[in-house]
């Protein structure tokens, strides 16, 4: 069986949106795929040593709420932290893996992660904030792998 390839662009930096790239990457690796995740803009949060990602319901009317809540209330100080705590609690009770666990599994399975150099510079991230073993590159770097991939996802 020749190795298939999965290329993912991760652009989101909220707790919920960090899941799809890591779930798909780790599963694909388990199925024998060679996987690369190119992290750009807010997706760079996925590469920080301390991921500390938050939930936000703002601009997301599709998010199920325990009770109906006006948007203005959702914007109050402390709401984001509260929703983050509630979501983490719920995930734990349902046996959903933590992001740190999924990322470790990706690293273990040799999923290659690339930080977009332009956005690292744009947001003035220090590379020491990121996990070890990642690469830095630009769009051309992404296409080198993506151009030969069997599946390419923008998340």
């Amino acid at each position: 069986m020749s190795e298939k390839k999965l290329a993912i662009i991760a652009t989101k930096g909220t707790l919920d949106w960090a899941y799809p790239p890591f779930i798909l990457a780790s599963t694909a690796a388990a199925l024998g795929y060679e996987v690369q995740i190119f992290c750009t803009f807010y997706g760079l949060q996925l590469l920080r040593k301390k991921m500390d990602l938050k939930m936000s319901s703002l601009g997301n009317p599709g998010m199920p709420m325990p009770m109906p809540m006006p948007v203005l209330l959702q914007a109050l100080p402390g709401m984001q932290s509260m929703m983050t705590a509630m979501m983490k609690q719920k995930m734990k009770s349902k046996g959903v893996a933590s992001l740190d666990e999924l990322r470790s599994l990706c690293v273990e399975a040799e999923v290659k992660m690339i930080a977009c150099q332009m956005t690292v510079d744009l947001f003035e991230f220090n590379t020491s904030e990121f996990i070890d073993g990642i690469d830095y590159g630009g769009a051309a770097t992404f296409f080198e792998f993506a151009g030969e991939s069997d599946i390419c996802l923008f998340i």
């Binding site: 069986m1 780790s26 388990a30 199925l31 024998g32 349902k94 046996g95 893996a97 599994l105």
Partner: protein, 76 residues
């Protein structure tokens, strides 16, 4: 109950953990050995079929007993 060489308890775990744990267990086993997996995630039924098909490991058995799903996978 069929014979198996190794057992994996994936109860309480949700997608994709049962698959990832199974993959890890299989990688520590020899060819033709059988892994038994117990899971509670209903999605794992289809997932283990797909996993077997794509990795070439054979799904010998897939059964359900009062909310528990049991799979037997033979390593290729």
């Amino acid at each position: 109950m069929a014979n198996f060489d190794k057992e994996l308890d994936a109860t309480g775990l949700n997608c994709p953990l049962p698959i990832l744990r199974a993959k890890k267990s299989l990688s520590e086993m020899d060819s033709n050995q059988v892994l038994q997996i117990t899971a509670t995630d209903p999605g794992s039924v289809k997932d283990f079929e797909a996993f077997a098909k794509q990795t070439g490991n054979e799904l010998l058995e897939s059964s359900e007993d009062s909310g528990k799903y049991v799979f037997l996978i033979k390593k290729s």
